[in-house]
C-alpha cells in the first residue's frame, strides 16, 4: 500500500544538481517534460537516483511491515469469506514489497542492503504501522482507510517519471482496488450490524483517526528543492493536496455510515477545502523516530523472520550464483 515516503527537507536545491553535466541534465529534463519515462540504465542525476531509491525502498518496507498489523487477525478472521480475503490481502502486501524492492534494485541498491537498513532502523517505513490492531474492527479500518490513503498516493506516483516504479505501481493499484472494496465491505458490515459491532468499529475509527491524519506527512515546505523533485516527477503531489483529496473522498463515506470522527473542527469550508485540527506532529516525529507503541515489536519480528529464514537461503545459495541488477 503505502508509498508516503517523504523527502528530506534539509537537502538544498543547489546541491541537488551540483556537479551534474548540464547537457545531460537538460536532455534528462526534456525527456521527462515530454512525458517519457526514465529507464534503469539511463543517465540520471545522482540526486534523482538517491531520492527514488529512498522513496521506493521506504514504500517497500511499508508493505512488508504493513503485513504485520493486518496479519494479527489472520487466524481470527471470522468465517471463510473474511479469512480467505484477509489472507489474500496480506499476501498481496507481501507481493507489493517484492515488486517495489525489485523496482528499487534497478537503481543499484541490492535487496539485502535495503533489508539491512530496515532491520537496523536506518530506513523508515510508513508510520501508521507502528500502531496496533487491537480488534477485528481495527483490521477492517486499516484495510479500508489506510489502503484508501495509500491508493491516493500510489495513483499519483504511478504517473511519475521512473519506468520500473510506475510499472510496479500499476500492478499494485489493480490489487489495491480489491483491498479497498474488501475494507469498505467490512466496515459497512460492522457499521450496519449489531450495536456491539457498531461500537467496535466506532472505537477503531476513533483510534485510527490521528494516525490516518498523519499518513500523508506534514505540510511540505515549498522550496526550490521540492520544485525540482516535482519537475523530475519524483514527487507527484503535495502532502496537503493528498490529504485534502483523501478527506474529500472518504469523510462523506464515513459520515454516511453515521460514524463520527474525533475532530470537532473537521468540516468542508465555503471554498470546498477541508478544515481540521492540526495533527500532533510532535507525536508523529516521536513515533517515526522509534517511540511508537509497536516500533520495537515490528522490527524485532522482521529481524526474527530474516534470521529464521537464513538457513534456508544459505543452503540454496550456490557458488556459481552471481548478482546482476535486474533489467527493468
Amino acid at each position: 500500500m503505502y508509498g508516503n515516503a517523504y523527502i528530506d527537507p534539509n537537502d538544498k536545491a543547489a546541491q541537488m544538481i551540483a556537479g551534474e553535466d548540464p547537457q545531460k541534465l537538460a536532455e534528462f529534463e526534456a525527456r521527462i517534460a515530454k512525458g517519457e519515462k526514465i529507464e534503469p540504465k539511463d543517465w540520471m542525476p545522482k540526486e534523482y537516483r538517491k531520492q527514488l531509491v529512498r522513496m521506493i525502498e521506504q514504500h517497500a518496507h511499508s508493505e512488508i511491515i504493513g503485513a504485520l498489523p493486518e496479519g494479527t487477525w489472520i487466524t481470527r478472521a471470522p468465517g471463510f469469506k473474511r479469512k480467505l480475503a484477509l489472507m489474500a490481502k496480506v499476501q498481496d502486501e507481501v507481493g507489493h514489497a517484492q515488486l517495489l524492492y525489485s523496482a528499487a534494485e534497478t537503481l543499484g541498491k541490492s535487496r539485502e542492503a535495503m533489508i539491512n537498513d530496515l532491520i537496523t532502523g536506518k530506513s523508515k517505513y510508513s508510520n501508521v504501522f507502528n500502531y496496533p490492531a487491537f480488534t477485528w474492527a481495527d483490521a477492517c479500518i486499516i484495510a479500508w482507510l489506510i489502503d484508501a490513503g495509500a491508493i491516493i498516493n500510489q495513483v499519483a506516483n504511478a504517473k511519475g517519471s521512473y519506468g520500473p516504479y510506475c510499472r510496479a505501481l500499476d500492478r499494485i493499484c489493480t490489487e489495491e482496488s480489491f483491498h479497498l472494496k474488501y475494507g469498505h465491505d467490512n466496515v459497512v458490515t460492522l457499521a450496519t450490524g449489531t450495536p456491539k459491532q457498531r461500537e467496535m468499529v466506532q472505537a477503531a475509527l476513533t483510534r485510527w483517526w490521528p494516525p490516518i491524519m498523519h499518513f500523508f506527512g506534514p505540510s511540505d515546505k515549498i522550496s526550490n528543492h521540492t520544485e525540482i523533485l516535482m519537475r523530475w516527477k519524483v514527487k507527484m503531489a503535495s502532502n496537503d493536496d493528498m490529504r485534502q483529496q483523501f478527506l474529500n473522498m472518504y469523510v462523506p463515506k464515513i459520515w454516511d455510515l453515521g460514524l463520527t470522527l474525533p475532530d470537532p473542527n473537521l468540516k468542508k469550508n465555503a471554498e470546498g477545502k477541508w478544515e481540521y485540527t492540526e495533527p500532533d506532529w510532535d507525536e508523529f516525529k516521536r513515533v517515526v523516530n522509534g517511540d511508537g507503541p509497536c516500533n520495537a515489536e515490528r522490527l524485532a519480528v522482521r529481524r526474527n523472520a530474516e534470521e529464521r529464514g537464513r538457513w534456508v537461503r544459505e543452503a540454496l545459495n550456490t557458488t556459481e550464483s552471481k548478482y546482476i541488477v535486474p533489467l527493468a
Partner: protein, 251 residues
C-alpha cells in the same frame, strides 16, 4: 448411501484442510524470503478453500452452515489428524509436513475423483490443479534442501524423523471403513497409506533423506476420534474469537 460413513469421511478431510491451512497461514509475512512467503500463502488459501468446499458438502447433507461448523466447534469436536495441529516450528518442519500431508491429500482426492459419492468426486476433480502445484512445490523444496548443505540436510532429516509417526497417524481407520470401501465411496485408509508410501519413498530418497526404520513406526492416532494435543485448543479458540464476541451478528 451410508450417510454416516460419508459424513465422517468429509469431517476428517475438512478438518485436516482447515487446520493445516490455518497453520500454514501463520507464516504469512514471516516466510524465509518474500517469494516463498507468497507461494506458501497461496497454498494455505487453497487448503482453506478446499476445506470450505467440503464443509459445504456436509451442509448439503444436513449439517450446519460451513462457517458455523468450521469456526464454532470446540477442539474436542475436531477430526483432524494430530499431525496437522502441531505448531509450525521452523521452516524445516513446516515444509516436511507440507510434503507429507500434501501427497496424502493429493492421493486421497485422486481416489475420490472416482468416488460413487458424486458431489465429492466433483470437488476432487476441481482441486486437481491446485494440488499438482502444491506437490510440485513440496517435492522441489524437499529435494533441494535435503541435499543442499550439511545443515539443511540435518534439519530436514530431523524434521522428517519428528514428523513421521504423526504423519502415519493421518491414516487412522474409521469405524466405517468397510462401508466406504464396499459402496465404492473411498478406497480406505490402508490402501491410501500404501499408495502414499510408494509415492513419497523415491522422492525422499532422491532428497538424500531416510525414512525412519519400519520397526520404529508407531502411528500417533487419536485425531480422528477427536482426541487432540494441547496445541489444537488455542488455535480453535482464536478461530471463533470474533464470532463469539457477538454470536448474533453477521461478520
Amino acid at each position: 448411501m451410508n450417510t454416516q460413513a460419508i459424513k465422517e469421511l468429509l469431517y476428517k478431510m475438512a478438518d485436516d484442510l482447515l487446520i493445516i491451512g490455518h497453520r500454514n497461514s501463520e507464516w504469512t509475512g514471516l516466510g524465509p524470503i518474500l517469494e516463498e512467503d507468497i507461494s506458501f500463502s497461496s497454498m494455505a488459501q487453497d487448503k482453506i478453500g478446499q476445506s470450505q468446499a467440503i464443509f459445504q458438502l456436509l451442509n448439503d447433507l444436513g449439517e450446519q452452515e460451513p462457517d458455523t461448523v468450521a469456526f464454532m466447534r470446540g477442539a474436542a469436536q475436531f477430526h483432524n489428524a494430530r499431525f496437522l495441529e502441531l505448531p509450525n516450528g521452523e521452516y524445516d518442519f513446516s515444509l516436511v509436513r507440507h510434503f507429507l500431508f500434501d501427497h496424502a491429500d493429493q492421493l486421497r482426492f485422486e481416489a475420490l475423483a472416482n468416488s460413487s459419492y458424486e458431489p465429492l468426486a466433483k470437488v476432487a476433480k476441481k482441486v486437481k490443479g491446485e494440488l499438482k502445484y502444491h506437490v510440485f512445490h513440496a517435492n522441489t523444496w524437499l529435494v533441494k534442501l535435503g541435499q543442499a548443505n550439511e545443515n539443511s540436510h540435518n534439519r530436514m532429516q530431523a524434521a522428517l524423523n519428528q514428523a513421521w509417526n504423526y504423519a502415519l497417524g493421518m491414516f487412522e481407520e474409521s469405524a466405517h471403513e468397510d462401508a466406504l470401501i464396499t459402496e465404492g465411496i473411498f478406497e480406505g485408509e490402508l490402501a491410501l497409506r500404501d499408495k502414499w508410501l510408494a509415492t513419497i519413498t523415491p522422492i525422499i530418497l532422491k532428497a538424500g533423506l531416510q525414512i525412519p526404520a519400519s520397526n520404529e513406526w508407531q502411528p500417533i492416532y487419536g485425531g480422528r476420534i477427536c482426541q487432540h494435543t494441547e496445541h489444537l485448543s488455542p488455535l480453535v479458540e482464536e478461530m471463533s474469537e470474533v464470532f463469539r464476541y457477538d454470536p448474533t451478528a453477521e461478520w
